[in-house]
């Protein structure tokens, strides 16, 4: 499988629907400090099921909804959609195109959708389980975190190998 696009609306510094088209190979995301690059990485982590506000650099989950700016009002909802090409069938779903969607509202409500159909967070996690992709796998290496695999204790490092076994 590969990511065809990431859509962000109301997630952190992204207001209107922003679509990042991706293809196979290496895509680089570049830009000045504070422009929103790591926010995109956070969005992928979040839609894959991240539940820790701290890991997403917030105090509470509400912090990931666009909080407004000098010129803009805050928004009431954050939504991220991963559009995945599943032609190789590596995701255990009968579709060759899989859209994974997560929404969050200011009242704390969260919604999860797979190809437009409501589901639970557990369904999304289960979908990706065998692929090795999850919000806390090596597939997502956050800013400042690459030295962690070197600095971690020997028993923590063992867990990385267990996941790969």
């Amino acid at each position: 499988m590969y990511l065809k696009s990431i859509e962000l609306s109301g997630f952190k510094s992204f207001t209107n629907r922003t679509v990042i088209k991706l293809e196979d190979g290496i895509s680089c995301i570049v830009g000045p400090n504070g422009s929103g690059k790591s926010n995109i990485a956070d969005a992928v982590r979040w839609v894959l099921g991240e539940q820790s506000a701290k890991i997403l650099r917030g105090h509470k989950m509400e912090d990931i909804i666009f909080a407004g700016s000098d010129k803009r009002k805050p928004l009431g909802m954050a939504e991220v959609i991963l559009n995945i090409d599943n032609s190789d069938g590596s995701l255990p779903l009968e579709y060759s195109a899989v859209a994974v969607c997560r929404r969050a509202y200011r009242d704390g409500e969260s919604e999860y959708l797979l190809n437009g159909r409501q589901c639970r967070l557990a369904d999304i996690r289960e979908l990706f389980m065998d692929s090795g992709v999850s919000n806390n796998s090596l597939a997502l290496i956050g800013q400042g975190r690459i030295q962690e695999v070197v600095n971690m204790k020997a028993d923590e490092r063992r867990l990385l190998l267990e996941d790969a076994a």
């Binding site: 290496i26 895509s27 422009s35 700016s69 010129k71 690459i146 490092r157």
Partner: protein, 159 residues
């Protein structure tokens, strides 16, 4: 169960040694089990020897060296169980120019099996990419996406 762990360990260990030499341009590295007779509970530790230097406690390594060892370890595991996609956020921040070049060249060897999305400020890494997306923020505090061609003046994105 124990056998599967041992097999995975052997494979990752071999990959780690090879990846290390590619990224450091020499030297040697290996992983070892802290308790070889207890495969279910043993920890996994590292021995690292950069080119020209002595086998040294890896904590003494420099910031750039530690980043490179981290990349070697992650890619060693990917070779055993490739992730379909991988997002790297500024893993090259501490690398000098020579190491950025080696890092960028090496990532290219994996793109057949793994789709990479790499956040970076480094020119060497940008030059290895198949496409670039620029993110900017105007005075309104909102992120905007801009397509950047590889032939564009990359200097404005490089730091």
């Amino acid at each position: 169960m124990a056998k599967r762990f041992r097999d995975t360990f052997e494979q990752v260990n071999q990959n780690f040694g090879q990846t290390f030499v590619q990224l450091f341009g020499g030297g040697s590295a290996a992983m070892f089990l802290t308790e070889p007779d207890d495969p279910l509970m043993t920890g996994v530790d590292l021995l690292v020897q950069p080119p020209g230097k002595k086998l040294i406690n890896y904590n003494l390594l420099s910031g750039g060296e530690k980043s490179l060892v981290g990349v070697a370890l992650v890619l060693a595991i990917f070779q055993v169980k490739p992730s379909p996609f991988c997002i790297l956020d500024e893993v090259d921040a501490a690398l000098d120019e020579a190491n950025v070049e080696r890092f960028a060249e090496y990532i290219k060897m994996f793109k057949q099996k793994t789709q990479f999305i790499v956040v970076t400020h480094r020119q060497g890494t940008m030059e290895a990419a198949d496409r670039l997306w620029g993110i900017t923020m105007e005075k309104d505090g909102v992120s905007k996406i801009v397509s950047v061609r590889l032939t564009d003046d990359l200097q404005q994105y490089v730091s």
